[in-house]
């Protein structure tokens, strides 16, 4: 069994991934590809929305308020 751990960048225009298996002897092989479906994210630049409100909204949003008195 050979394990290759490789980070790749996929985009709409480049979704092809290559592996160098040149060290293996010639022959027929079965490749089993396991992909972490939660892609790594670049968080160096973070986007935030700018929602304007007429009043200051610095109230405390605890889940007690979010779910109301009936717990929903």
């Amino acid at each position: 069994m050979l394990t290759i751990n490789k980070n790749v960048s996929l985009s709409k225009t480049n979704a092809v991934v290559s592996f160098d298996l040149g060290k293996l002897p010639e022959g027929e092989y079965q490749l089993l590809l396991v992909v972490d479906v939660n892609p790594k994210k670049s968080t160096k630049q973070i986007w935030f929305p700018n929602f304007n409100t007429e009043v200051n909204t610095s109230q405390n949003f605890s889940r007690t308020e979010i779910y109301g008195d009936n717990g929903r």
Binding site: N38, K41, S42, T43, K44, I46, W47, F48, P49, N50, F51, N52, T53, E54, V55, N56, T57, S58, N60, F61, S62, R63, T64, I66, Y67, G71
Partner: protein, 150 residues
């Protein structure tokens, strides 16, 4: 501020809300804290529960504004979802939740906070940034590390 060196940070719903509101006293500090962790190579995480709660809170706040458009809120959720790691709840998350409920004797609405902790443990996220530290203090430091906004 004591940070466990696992390089993962979970954003509580209130942090996302504050970071989105231009007329909030906490907007700049919320954004600053998130950027500070991101600059220090932390993975920034939210969960499906946080997304639902954000939708609920933001739409409720903005609903009475004259230029309110639900599409703007939806776009903000989509962009947050694209740039942050998303913790999905799976079967074992519910099992962790039940363990925590039993262990900490959690009842009523506190279950919702407990589910955040369960989701964090599912994904081995130790740090939560929140403005509601009192809601999570019972879990700290044994289960998670609670980082206050202020």
């Amino acid at each position: 501020m004591v940070i466990m060196e696992d390089k993962k940070l979970f954003l509580d719903t209130n942090i996302l809300v504050y970071s989105s509101l231009t007329n909030s006293d906490f907007q700049h500090i919320a954004r600053g804290k998130i950027l500070e962790f991101a600059t220090n190579n932390y993975e920034i995480w939210i969960s499906r529960q946080v997304i639902r709660e954000y939708l609920s809170v933001i739409s409720k706040i903005l609903f009475t504004e004259p230029d309110f458009k639900i599409d703007d809120v939806i776009i903000s959720v989509e962009k947050f979802s694209n740039q942050f790691y998303i913790a999905d709840e799976i079967k074992s998350t519910s099992e962790i939740l039940l363990d925590l409920v039993k262990k900490h004797n959690i009842t009523g609405k506190n279950v919702h906070d407990c589910n955040i902790v369960a989701t964090m443990k599912q994904y081995e996220i130790n740090n939560i940034l929140t403005h509601n530290t009192k809601d999570f203090i019972k879990y700290s430091p044994r289960e998670i590390n609670v980082i206050g906004l202020l």
